[in-house]
């Protein structure tokens, strides 16, 4: 018999660390969410908030809490989770830390439909979300079709996506300019994401989509981890590569499309959450839950910073977009150090 007590001990230690860290992240999410409800132009005490939420009032403080802060907070949490999980899954599937849905055009695909629906067709409500979802899926389908052919590879998908992204973004700019609604805020909402103007009736469908897709992704997680070992290992270990890949992709796309239809493509969250999460829970770990929580924390804290901590108010997408810059520099430094 091989004595594997040291291995088991290490395993248990890592397991414990994982649970503790996930717990801390969860607590952070709750704390920041509460802060978003409490803090603002007027500060409401938790007791008051609970009382207001229980009652049916719609005036004064109740208006602030119920129609301004509550949907904003919920949207921040849900889109954070959506972008975090989707980005993490994309990065794992493509095996590249820079491959995230907002770099390769999927978020722009969803935004294009939303902008078209709102500005050109003058629609609102549910139908916009569905248009965004369908268009996000269609754009990913087109990217996939275009990158097929004799020398198909993941890399080709990414490059095609970058081209698509540029094309779609210019379409968005065109529609915004044509509709004469190119005021700064609406443009930024659809080009880099914002939580302004989220309403309560958008929340339920977003919540359903997030629960469903994140649940599925977590269920498929084992297979994703095996896929990362390489295609041949995956085959040997009995993973149905094609099916798993398509399933994971579809779930991530649903997440992105629903989240984008509510807030626009919140920049960089998808691309930062995964690496941050695996940085803190340790590599090789199942970090889907951790990246979901990280995404939520990123969006909420960036929104707080954008709203209150800076000399003028910024939409959340601008703040998260800036976070991308230091991360890139960090990657650069880490790589240089490794090559020495």
């Amino acid at each position: 018999m091989i004595d594997n007590s040291t291995i088991m001990e290490g395993h248990i230690r890592r397991q414990r660390r994982y649970i503790i860290i996930t717990g801390i992240l969860l607590i952070l999410v709750v704390v920041i969410a509460c802060f978003m409800m409490i803090y603002g132009n007027t500060i409401y005490m938790p007791k008051e908030i609970i009382r207001i939420l229980k009652s049916d009032e719609m005036k004064g403080a109740a208006f602030t809490i119920k129609t301004l802060r509550m949907p904003r907070m919920l949207a921040a949490v849900l889109t954070g989770v959506a972008f975090g999980v989707a980005g993490n899954t994309f990065q794992k599937l493509f095996g590249n830390p820079l491959a995230s849905p907002d770099v390769i055009g999927v978020t722009s695909g969803a935004s294009v439909a939303a902008v078209f629906g709102i500005l050109v067709l003058r629609l609102n409500g549910d139908i916009i979300s569905w248009m965004a979802v369908i268009s996000g899926l269609a754009v990913s389908g087109i990217i996939y079709m275009l990158s097929r052919g004799e020398n198909f590879s993941n890399g080709r998908i990414i490059l095609t996506g970058i081209g698509m992204q540029a094309f779609l973004n210019s379409l968005i700019s065109w529609m915004l300019l044509k509709a004469a609604e190119y005021d700064v805020s609406s443009a930024l909402r659809w080009l880099s994401g914002s939580l302004n103007g989220v309403t309560m009736n958008q929340i339920p469908r977003l919540a359903i989509a997030v629960c469903f897709s994140v649940g599925l992704i977590i269920a498929l997680n084992r297979h994703l981890q095996i896929l990362q070992l390489g295609d041949s290992h995956a085959t040997v270990l009995g993973v149905r590569k094609g099916a798993v890949r398509v399933g994971l992709m579809l779930c991530s796309l649903l997440l992105i499309a629903f989240a984008t239809s509510v807030t626009g493509p919140i920049a960089s969250v998808a691309f930062l959450s995964g690496p941050i999460a695996s940085g803190i829970v340790g590599h090789g770990r199942n970090n889907t839950i951790a990246s979901a929580l990280t995404g939520a924390i990123l969006v909420m804290s960036s929104d707080i910073v954008g709203q209150y901590a800076l000399p003028s108010r910024y939409p959340v997408g601008v703040v998260t977009g800036i976070l991308g810059a230091p991360y890139l520099i960090y990657l650069l430094i880490r790589i240089n150090r490794r090559s020495e």
Binding site: D102, N151, L177, A267, Y314, V318, I322, G324
Partner: protein, 332 residues
């Protein structure tokens, strides 16, 4: 036979350029007839107002020709230096870096002098180019097209957010300088052209002097060294010229994407890889494409105008995808 083809290419491109120039001065919010162009040179040939419209559009057209040519050559230089088929000032994020530097200069240091814009843009562009190339060449495989593109795209997103952050509090500045987000040549004046000209001439001169060495470089570093080319020096010089060209355009017109990417590929399809043929034709084609985009922007954007940068991306995105489909790179 081969020579005939090149001559034909020149004839076609000059014709195209002529048509573009004619469209650029006649089309717009108010269309004027060909007669007014003659009126600009011969007194009393056309109504005064139309002549004035033509005269007002001339600097914009000239600027478009120069800027388009500069971007075309800049793209060709970057593709040669990196030996990467999808290198381009916009893919590498260099344009966004340049525009961030200028926006910061305007907002924080109250810089208003055009020459300083250009130097700022140059500094921003060089820093970004080094950063992105560094990011892309991580790992053993070095800067493959895919890594380069991803690093550039990610850097652009981050830099664009910084531009937004700096611009957003000053809504007035933002409205006036909207072209810092999407490039446009609509506001060009003779003053701009005068400012940009020296830098562009230097850039062109370096590019044309380096053509033989760049040809050698295309054969690989070893062969080039064997042929007596100082590989490092040529790379550096060509990179500086490429960045200088796109930075001086960006400093005055904002980030205009994809021209540098598309043009050399289109030309190479006709002429083969010989740089002495590709380079001048790239300049001319770049000018055509920028002018066409500008005219399209005026037609599609009625009653206003669309920035030409939007149109170049609308055309450039699909062309980029076509290029990727064709390029056979195993390292993808």
């Amino acid at each position: 036979m081969d020579k005939k083809r090149i001559v034909l290419a020149y004839i076609v491109i000059f014709l195209l350029l002529f048509i573009c120039v004619a469209l650029s001065v006649t089309c717009g919010v108010r269309d004027v007839g060909i007669k007014s162009i003659i009126g600009a040179f011969v007194p009393n040939a056309a109504p005064k107002i139309e002549v004035n419209i033509v005269l007002a559009r001339i600097p914009r057209t000239v600027f478009g020709i120069l800027a388009g040519a500069a971007l075309g050559i800049s793209g060709q230089l970057m593709q040669s230096v990196t030996r990467n088929p999808i290198a381009d000032p916009s893919i590498l994020g260099v344009n966004t870096g340049a525009s961030l530097a200028v926006v910061c200069g305007i907002t924080f240091f109250n810089i208003q002098n055009g020459n300083q814009y250009i130097w700022l843009a140059f500094a921003g562009a060089i820093i970004t180019a080094v950063l992105v190339y560094g990011l892309a060449s991580m790992g053993r495989e070095g800067a493959t097209p895919i890594r380069l593109a991803l690093a550039g795209a990610a850097a652009s997103t981050a830099l664009q957010s910084l531009v937004n952050t700096v611009m957003l509090p000053n809504t007035q500045v933002m409205d006036q300088f909207r072209f810092w987000q999407v490039g446009s040549i609509s506001g060009a004046t003779w003053e701009d052209i005068r400012l940009m000209l020296p830098y562009i001439i230097v850039g062109f001169a370096i590019a044309f002097l380096l053509m033989p060495s760049l040809n050698a470089l295309a054969l690989g570093d070893d062969v080039a060294t064997g042929l007596g080319v100082n590989v490092t020096a040529v790379r550096m010089l060509a990179a500086v010229a490429g960045v200088l060209l796109c930075a001086s355009v960006t400093a005055l017109a904002g980030p205009i994407s994809f021209i540098g990417l598309m043009v050399p590929h289109v030309i190479r399809a006709f002429t083969g890889p010989e740089i002495k043929r590709v380079m001048p034709l790239s300049a001319l084609t770049g000018a055509c494409i920028l002018l066409i985009s500008d005219v399209l922007g005026r037609l599609l954007g009625r009653p206003g105008e669309l920035e030409s940068g939007i149109i170049t991306a609308l055309i450039g995105g699909p062309v980029f995808i076509l290029i990727i489909r064709k390029v056979k790179v195993h390292s993808l």
